[in-house]
Symmetry: C2
Subunit: 262 residues, 2 copies
């Protein structure tokens, strides 16, 4: 069983890629919709929440887990890995590899939540591959609420104005490659591409899905491509927002759990 | 002891008014910074969180409580009042009275979180005072993240663009009075006044503070005007954001608690 979790529904952009790469596998997804967002909270709180998320997934007999949340991946992954005896993949490593491979001028940008940028995890991962790469990181805390409130059209004027401000340092640094370091951000790919037309965009959730596909245990005979969703807020409303991230309607089972008990 | 709580730090706009009206009183404030915001969550989750918030305040020997959160006041107040045997004041009643008193053309607007607008609490409270008043309510989910991320200047272009969209229905309805139904919104008074120059703005937190002042027990001899702050996320960062809402630096005691245990 493949486990995927996120602070909320942004991780569904990674789930979408897993389903594409590994058709027919059974997957369990947990979105902490009762406590989203994580990226504006302290690392202490993020670690506490991520431990609860993992403890819940472990009740679902998962063999491998994708922490499909940039904030958890950059802030809590070492704690999760030292606590749980199963492979846990984050979204930092794959994106760092893809960016180091894609950049021609050795200038890479990273946009992510405040907590992720503060952690320095993407910078460290890229430098460990090639210390000569110059990395410019910018915290973009407004992008998560913009996505969640539907300001997602390629030409949305509010999103364009916010991006113009956030991306000025990225533009000034002359990067040719930009990591979307939060799994909400691929929803804004069109708007970001308009703001940075000649820059290669790296989808960190999709890169993590590729790493997962490479190390997932073989498909079991009884797997039937079933995706089960668990959320910590009530279920109504989930399907509407989830369909934005998945790009198609959600027809699978959705269950509310009390994450504070884990 | 006066207790005040909010989903996060917006309730500090009400606390500021309590301190002004009731100088020298001891106050305990709880802000659920580890789970903010409430206004985008389901009523079921909001009620669960509000019960935990109240259970914590009850450990602090409070005599009276102000639920300084528009979302809690409109969604969970009846549950809180039937659960805890002490006076609990919300932000709906005072604002409804002030708006009914202020309007000349009997057209009142309400801007608030999605959960508050869905509850219909402000409409019901205004209609119970004067059924002839026409009420136009608009959910403004982006205003909380805008405030929390510092887009608070009177002429901020992002906030102006978002407000222009949200306030079009309020303008079309021809209201002469607008309730700021979320305690974050008074921080945007300047920007809202620019967008609606001839409309009277009602600060729901400040109106609730007036109701509280009218029914608070007499000052005890040992009260010394001490304000203690409790938050559910880590303490660093609290002082910076809190000073935006309070309009002055925070020099009092701040303690982190684990709200999930209550």
């Amino acid at each position: 069983m493949i486990g995927v979790f996120d602070s909320g529904l942004g991780g569904l952009t990674a789930l979408r890629e897993i389903v594409r790469l590994l058709p027919g596998r059974d997957i369990v997804y947990f979105g902490d919709t009762g406590r989203v967002p994580y990226g504006t909270r302290s690392s202490e709180t993020i670690v506490r929440y991520a431990l609860q998320d993992m403890r819940f997934l472990c009740t679902q007999a998962v063999d491998v887990v994708l922490a499909a949340c940039g904030t958890v991946s950059s802030t809590a992954l070492h704690v999760l890995r030292s606590t749980f005896p199963l492979p846990i993949i984050g979204v930092v490593e794959g994106a760092a590899q893809a960016a180091a491979h894609a950049t021609k001028n050795r200038r890479v940008g990273v946009i992510a939540t405040g907590a992720t940028v503060s952690s320095g995890a993407f910078v460290q991962a890229i430098k460990s591959i090639d210390p000569q790469i110059d990395v410019t990181s910018v915290a973009c805390p407004m992008l998560v609420p913009l996505v969640e409130n539907g300001y997602i059209a390629d030409d949305d004027p509010v999103t364009a104005l916010v991006l113009d401000d956030y991306l000025s340092a990225i533009r000034a640094a002359g990067v040719d490659t930009l990591i979307l370091g939060c799994t909400h951000f691929p929803i804004l790919t069109g708007a970001i591409a308009r703001a940075l037309p000649d820059v290669t965009l790296i989808n960190s959730g999709a890169e993590a899905a590729k790493l997962l596909a490479a190390q997932v245990p073989p498909k079991q005979a009884d797997e039937e491509g079933r995706v089960r969703y668990f959320v910590s807020d009530s279920v109504p409303g989930f399907a509407r927002v989830a369909s934005i991230f998945l790009g198609e309607p959600v027809e699978d089972e959705v269950t509310r759990i009390d994450i504070e008990r884990f």
